[in-house]
């Protein structure tokens, strides 16, 4: 502890980090209030809704789905959290300087490296990355130093465990990653000790128990706070939903794999792992602080790369990659070119200064920064104004709707949550169909419409898919069916359709807008294959009846001609006889003179694809199937299934 105290004591040597702290505070405070948002971006809406909700006493996890942490949610509405929030960037960069100083043992190099990194963050990756992942980038490096430098007592492990628990509750997934990294570093330290002192190695289960006990104690304060706010159950449930979100948010990874930033990360990672492996496996040197840092950064980057597999965060990952490169350079400098180090300092100094001159000074407007510092609400209002300037069409829709009924409640489909802000309306638990895709999510959305007597639905015509190319009619068919059955066409405003509550009308008759025609042509991709692969075994003679089976559409149409075959609980089983095409196409003639066509990835020969017709938008109302056309390489079966079995399918 004495060593720690001596490190923290303020003396003349600490003047430089103090100046650095003040400089980074001034340079980054302008970005605190959301200047990081690209106001034309779709995602900016979500941030504005959360800011609006936070300022209007909507509690996260309990009243609204919020995928981030408390600090990010409450920073505009709570003065104490706001003070902490604006200090995140300067604290983290000063800590980083301190770590570099321990590594380089050279203040000039440390300050230049820190400033160069800050310049990179400000200009290239975006300062938002620091508020989003900064804790995860820097705190494990601090733990690396603590574990490298000290042989900790049980009491110290307990305190560290408690801190880990507290920060896990405060920073959620970032906190969990930090905890995982601390444990990884702890076992890394033990593994190195085992390698050196094979005979004298003592396993330390007690230390792990002290960490775990401290961790549980650290969870308590926020758990009690949540319990008092009646949000503890919702908070626990949030983690279950987070698992679903990762499933929904998955987008194709290998498309972004070949981006320049990702290739840079990928190569740096391989070099670092290789370097560390060789150093630890083949070179019997004394373990250095840099080994702990490299190990910690490798795990950080591997975790972030896996996160990037779900949603690309390539630019943000480059921040720990650059820290890793700085650590590697320091290691090479100390190991191989120590004699030339003095000559290198001026060059690095000049390069660093070049970076510093590249600073974007827009965010350092002291007038704006001061205003934000005094009145956090100004941030939200400024963000909203900027967003509306970049997206004027939203205000047009609002004005039009207010001319009908100034107090009417609205729902946005598939999800332009900014409308809830503009109508000053409490948003549904899930803002977009993207978040509400689970059956519970969709039910919550329908309940919201019923409970609030939503009079108008605003449909974004251009937004046929949200974020990942999975169509909305696939993702949220339950909500879509509710809308199609209970609302009718009212008016077009730019790219938006306004639907008014009307339970009697049929939205497909007449078709008032090309948007509805899109709903009649459906590409189900792999869904029929997946449904057939996993669930065709559920269909048997006791719960389903085969109406007709044939590989000729003529025979099927003769059957349909003489009968009334309703779409309710009607399944189409498509068995591939010969696989001659990648995509299977089926055209259907439906009662009320409607036509619809389905395409999907054809199953392999001998396999069965399954389609639940009542899930298709055109069959949101029960309709009569009149005609069906398909290629004779498939054998089609029309099957009536009982409701219980039908619910097992998509």
């Amino acid at each position: 502890m004495r060593k720690v105290k001596s490190c923290l004591r303020i003396n003349r040597g600490n003047l430089l980090p103090c100046l650095l702290f003040i400089f980074i505070f001034i340079a980054s405070v302008g970005f605190v209030c959301g200047n990081y948002l690209g106001f034309a971006s779709f995602d900016a809406q979500e941030f504005l809704v959360w800011e609006h909700s936070s300022l209007n006493n909507v509690f996260p996890y309990r009243d609204i789905f919020y995928p981030y942490n408390f600090i990010n949610y409450f920073y505009l509405s709570n003065a104490f959290i706001y003070c902490f929030y604006i200090l995140i960037s300067p604290i983290l960069f000063t800590l980083l300087y301190w770590i570099f100083d321990k590594l380089f043992k050279n203040r000039l190099l440390s300050i230049i490296s820190t400033l160069a990194l800050f310049a990179y963050v400000l200009n290239i990756s975006g300062i938002y990355a620091v508020y989003r992942y900064g804790i995860f980038f820097v705190i494990p490096l601090l733990f690396a130093w603590i574990l490298y430098q000290f042989d900790l007592t049980r009491k110290a492990y307990f305190i560290l465990g408690a801190l880990l628990g507290l920060q896990t509750m405060l920073f959620l997934e970032q906190g969990l990653y930090v905890t995982f990294l601390f444990l990884s570093l702890y076992f890394f330290k033990n593994a190195l000790y085992l390698k050196k002192n094979k005979k004298n190695y003592r396993s330390s289960p007690h230390e792990v128990i002290w960490i775990a006990t401290g961790f549980i104690v650290g969870l308590m304060p926020i758990a009690v706070f949540l319990y008092k706010a009646k949000a503890l159950g919702d908070f626990i449930n949030f983690f279950v939903m987070l698992k679903d979100i990762s499933l929904l948010a998955k987008i194709p990874y290998f498309v972004s794999f070949f981006s320049l930033t990702n290739l840079f990360t990928f190569l740096s990672l391989i070099i670092a792992i290789l370097y560390l492996s060789i150093r630890l496996l083949f070179l019997n040197n004394k373990t250095r602080f840099s080994s702990y840092l490299i190990f910690s950064l490798i795990i950080e980057i591997l975790i972030l790369e896996n996160k990037s597999v779900i949603r690309p965060i390539n630019e943000q990952i480059t921040i720990p990659v650059l820290i890793l490169i700085i650590v590697l350079i320091s290691d090479f400098r100390a190991k191989f070119i120590s004699l030339k180090a003095k000559k290198m300092i001026p060059i690095v100094f000049l390069l660093g200064l070049c970076f510093v001159f590249l600073f974007d000074l827009k965010g350092t407007d002291l007038g704006i920064s001061g205003k934000y510092l005094m009145i956090p609400r100004e941030c939200y209002e400024n963000n909203l104004n900027n967003f509306l300037l970049a997206n004027s069409e939203y205000q047009k829709v609002v004005d039009q709707l207010k001319s009908y009924d100034s107090n009417a409640k609205v729902l946005s489909f598939p999800g332009d949550p900014i409308f809830y802000v503009l109508f000053n309306q409490r948003p549904p638990y899930f803002n977009t169909i993207y978040e509400a895709s689970s059956i519970n999510g969709q039910t919550a959305m329908v309940n919201y419409m019923q409970k609030n007597d939503v009079k108008y639905v605003i449909v974004d015509k251009n937004n046929l898919t949200i974020q990942d190319n999975v169509p909305n009619y696939i993702r949220g068919n339950f909500v879509l069916q509710y809308i199609l059955n209970n609302y009718s066409f009212k008016q077009n405003v730019d790219n938006y359709l306004i639907l008014e509550k009307n339970t009697r009308a049929d939205i497909f008759i007449p078709i008032n807008d090309p948007y509805f025609e899109n709903l009649l042509t459906i590409n189900l991709m792999d869904i029929p294959f997946s449904e057939g692969y996993y669930k065709s075994r559920y269909l048997n003679s006791s719960n389903s009846t085969v109406l007709i089976r044939s590989n000729e559409d003529k025979i099927l149409n003769e059957y349909l001609d003489g009968r009334t075959v309703k779409s309710e609980n009607l399944f189409l089983l498509v068995k591939t006889i010969r696989k001659t095409e990648v995509t299977a196409n089926i055209k259907m003639g439906i009662g009320d003179s409607l036509n619809s066509s389905i395409s999907f990835n054809a199953c392999k020969a001998g396999e069965v694809c399954v389609i639940d017709l009542s899930r298709l938008p055109v069959f949101s109302k029960s309709r009569i199937l009149r005609q069906i056309n398909f290629s004779n390489v498939y054998e089609l079966s029309l099957v009536k299934v009982d409701s219980k079995t039908a619910n097992l399918f998509w």
Partner: protein, 101 residues
């Protein structure tokens, strides 16, 4: 005989390896590049070897269900891409160390 001196390996003295050994090393190094290229080019083929992603009772349909490959496939594939060259290069270093002795 080929003269080798490596700063990175920090050899105590320069070592001489036979041509056959050099060929082995070069082939090892090249094979890591070939394997990476093969893995990247055969991505789609590997994907299709696996069954499609299941759509659960809660009807969650995301990218992996719609486009039909396992959710964790990309993560596992990425790890293989990262660790294959490392494994090969560590083997090469091991061979150098062995020859040095």
């Amino acid at each position: 005989m080929i003269y080798l001196k490596s700063m990175f390996l920090k050899l105590k003295k320069p070592i001489f390896i036979k041509k056959v050994q050099a060929v082995v090393v070069i082939n090892f190094l090249l094979s890591s590049i070939y394997i990476e290229i093969f893995l990247l080019l055969s991505l789609r083929w590997w994907r299709e070897l696996f069954p499609p992603s299941e759509i659960g009772n809660s009807k969650i349909v995301g990218y992996s269900q719609y486009f039909g490959y396992p959710f964790y496939f990309d993560s596992v594939y990425l790890m293989i891409l990262i660790f294959v060259p490392i494994f090969i290069l560590v083997t090469v270093v091991y061979l150098f160390n062995k020859w040095e002795r």
